[in-house]
């Protein structure tokens, strides 16, 4: 835990996190892609000086990927803890990113951990781990995802204290861009205005809103000497749409902001 990762709070989320941690409540963070969910978690882990185990969930993730499995080596077998088990044993944060991507039967192993029992039964070894006070379970997902066949089970959702993230206010977002890339205030302001213009198109012309992360990319490219409009095309317009006509229209918006 050397340096605290940069994080610009939007409102009371740090306070809420600390309260949840002290009271051993699991936390659910929802918000659009690239708005700082993962960064927030790593910031808090560093701040509270806890080990962080991040699992990026995918649809082939099984319960044993989380809990652990037996491995065979040299005539003997040994048990290998999964990230969840390790976090429980060591007393750290286990962060399941994009938890809706995981198969539904997988998330059921979280249930005994996320209520007041705070236990992790390991079926294979017959162990029942009791989570120490330092253990905290955090899951996140993106509710806007147009994934029809997926969604979080209400019974899982109801076990978490929930925190909704959105893109920060203009002023804050400018500070984030400045803090992340060292861009000058003028550039940050333009980029944030541009992003807000593009966000107005969400649902109507674009699937996803322009994320803060993309703005940071753009500012980074510009900061290293790349042409501003082209940086916007590469790191902002093209990631948002595949449709050429839409891309051209978005470039007009870029030109209007950058000239």
């Amino acid at each position: 835990m050397s340096e605290l990762p940069f994080y610009q709070p939007h409102s009371n989320e740090i306070e809420l996190f600390e309260h949840a941690y002290r009271n051993r409540l699991p936390l659910l963070i929802k918000g659009p892609t690239g708005c700082g969910k993962t960064r927030f978690v790593s910031h808090m882990a560093a701040k509270l000086n806890l080990p962080l185990y991040t699992v990026a969930c995918h649809d082939d993730l099984t319960a044993s990927d989380l809990v652990g499995r037996h491995l065979i080596g040299d005539g003997v077998t040994y048990w290998n803890d999964g990230p969840l088990t390790r976090a429980v044993r060591e007393g750290g944060i286990c962060y399941l990113d994009e938890v809706v991507e995981a198969r539904k039967d997988t998330t059921v192993v979280l249930h005994p951990l996320s209520d007041d029992r705070r236990i992790l039964p390991i079926e294979r070894t017959g162990e029942i781990l009791k989570a120490p006070p330092e253990f905290m379970l955090i899951v996140s997902y993106n509710p806007g995802y147009q994934n029809f066949l997926k969604g979080m089970k209400p019974s899982t959702r109801q076990r978490f204290v929930s925190l909704r993230f959105d893109f920060p206010e203009s002023e804050l977002e400018q500070q984030i861009v400045i803090g992340e890339t060292g861009a000058d205030a003028m550039l940050a302001k333009r980029l944030v205005n541009l992003a807000n213009s593009l966000r107005a198109l969400k649902e109507h012309d674009l699937e996803e809103a322009a994320s803060t992360r993309l703005l940071v990319y753009v500012a980074t490219l510009i900061g290293s000497g790349f042409d501003p409009a082209e940086a916007c095309r590469a790191a902002l317009v093209e990631p948002l749409t595949d449709d050429e006509e839409t891309a051209e229209a978005l470039m007009e918006i870029v030109y209007a902001s950058f000239g």
Binding site: I72, G75, E207, A249
Partner: protein, 606 residues
Amino acid sequence: MEEQVGALWHKLITGAADKRYPREAVSLEQISKTAGILFRAWGGDGGLAVKSAVATQHGAKRSLLQRIAGSHLKTELTWLDGETLNLPATIDLFPSKQLNRDLYLWLIALSATESDPSLPWIVRNQRATLEVLERFPGLLGRYQRLVDALLPMRPQRLAQGEREQEAAICAALKFPGSVESLPAAKRPPQPVYLWLHPNPPSSPAASANNKEPQNHEAGGDVKNIKDRRYQAERVDMPQGKDGFMMMFRAESILSWAEYIKVNRPTEEDQPPDEGAAEDLDRMSVAQDGKTSASRLKFDLDLPCEASDDLPIGEGILLPEWHYKKQLMQPAHCRVQPMLARHAPALPLPAHLSSTARRLRGQFAALTPSKVWFKAQFDGSELDLDACVQFSADRIGGVQAREQGLYKAHHYRDRDLACLLLADLSLSTDAHISDNARVIDVIRDTLFLFSEALSATGDRFALYGFSSLKRENIRFHILKEFERKYNDEVRGRIAAIKPGFYTRMGAAIRHASQLLAKQPATQKLLLILTDGKPNDLDQYEGRYGVEDTRAAIHEARQMGQRPFCVTIDDKGSSYLPHLFGVNGYVVIRKPSELPRELPLLYAQLTR
């Protein structure tokens, strides 16, 4: 001969008088998608449609040549109202395509900027200009290029008074914010192409009592009605009972242009010649609120009870969203479920059988996604996890349980319900080819869709709807979820017929209520339509669109996925607003719809 000479002269003189550059023209059609995106991105209202405005008479001084040519009386201006952003259909003002295109973008930026309509025209435009330049510094260069190109085109030789006016306009263009009022003059100034115009242009009186913009209802025609707004003037409906009937059409231009308070009892009007409408300065429309309704008495009255479909139950009261008041009007609509009275059981029509067979084959193989099942007793691959577990247990001396050591690739059972809601309004009576009407396509689609779905085993239901005002929303039951797809259902599908209007919001609300009762976790609400929501009363234009949007939103809230399949090629102007960018698909060739819809379903539920 006379005609040829006349045509030649017209060409010559208008060519000489015309200082425009048709070769460099940019048309709204070319940039319409860009225009919509820019307008919304820059803060414009997402519910507005972008359309081309019709020319307005400007009344300013013309050059001698222009007067001889009889041209340049009118110009297309940019203005905004509650439903549309009106832009010129083409811009060919400047000698380069780039400048003409820039002018479009500039006008869009200007109209997306909030401005106070009570300010005088000149002040308002200067303020808007300043604001746009401040918000979008990148437009400064363009603005300057546009002003530089525009200034030499402004009239030079002018009379006293007009000269001062012109000077003020030029100053306001060059240094926006510097002019506080427009000096008075005998004639109105030359139109300023870089500025917006009030709505509707030039005549504030016409909009004074304009409470609700009313478009013509689109009866039963999918023919390409030109996407234009005509400048309309509200005139009181004459009360007199006598008068004379206007029967003579050859001089329709004259008779149209000057509205005489003639009592014209409703008659079956021929659709007027569009050319005539375009030449008019102003179309006079009497606002008696009955024009369409009373005409409808002729053709769209409800059928007598005996020959009508069988109503089921008392009808269901549903709310409706009023976008101007921003409130949900409770129990505003009555949805009446109906069952076809004469619908004998039928087999699948012969002309569909081969397509149906192919679709069933495809669907049986295609839809449910294959997944790997672990720990199977039989399978194509070893399940490494299970094998390791097994060996570990064995070596560790644990009593090895009997367990599957293979992975198998199987179809996953799906927990999915789909409700298809088909628009059966009268507009589906229109022909789309020599031998098919829209309704025929919809019928075939329903058939093939059911065939395909019954092959997958997914639960589905089919309903149709049409409406005649808010108390008569006819909801035709074709197949309920619990009913098996059989000849009886096929008979009902075969019996669908077009009628009435499209009050989409209420139909969607009822459909999503039905769908919500299904136990499935995934719910798909498919809407099949051929046009915009509309009905006889205020349910048209923006009102209908916003109500439908609200209904779609409610369905989403209930965890359903609404998706629209439309055969309205103009649909792209309002569909994203209703369904979101990924929530709809426009089928260009209606004849392909029966084949496309099942495939689409496969994609949606993959």
